[in-house]
């Protein structure tokens, strides 16, 4: 469960850490979301990404309804211990728009949230 590592991470004032999700194979950056201690522990337990939804204030098991789960292959920590990088196998689109990655627009083409 790596509980000592979880405790030693640099959690922010809200008890969260940003987690980047990258697909193994394509190396595409799929999305970024936040984990809480509880969601990170749950991710380790089930081997799939579980985030903390800041808007809904609940755990959010990615793909629970869509089926597009993200199987965790590796979790990396940055030098400051305040950002995580989940390397995953994605069962489908990461984005709620149906796009494979949430980063499907350049800044030039950005015309508001979707």
């Amino acid at each position: 469960m790596l509980l000592s590592q979880i405790d030693s991470l640099s959690w922010d004032a809200n008890g969260l850490i940003p987690a980047i999700v990258q697909e193994v194979g394509s190396d595409a950056v799929l999305m970024m979301a936040y984990v809480s201690r509880e969601s990170l522990a749950r991710s380790l337990e089930i081997g799939e990404t579980v985030f903390y939804s800041r808007s809904r204030k609940t755990l959010w098991h990615k793909g629970e309804t869509s089926g597009n789960v993200q199987r965790i292959r590796e979790i990396l920590v940055d030098c400051d211990g305040d950002t995580l990088l989940f390397r995953v196998e994605a069962a489908g689109a990461a984005c709620h728009t149906g796009e494979m990655t949430c980063f499907f627009r350049t800044l030039e083409n950005y015309d508001g949230q979707q």
Copy 2:
């Protein structure tokens, strides 16, 4: 300068947005930092990554002292407009430890900030 795009991004309560940095070619995720409106405008102006240092409360031109600048090839925006992905050519190590990427340790091997 893409100023209308900058204004339409979803800036957080502190006027910041997290920016993931990924190397073009290797597709390695190098680091994550924060941009302010001013640092993003400056990044666009000089074509190199300029972040906002939350600890020093100043603009932070990456590589200004080390020489390890990050030349911006592309800036992507996520679906929510609240996270950026800088795709860059890196002149050298991204990490202050001398590692190419800040994500050089797995969670299992994490033993505190460096």
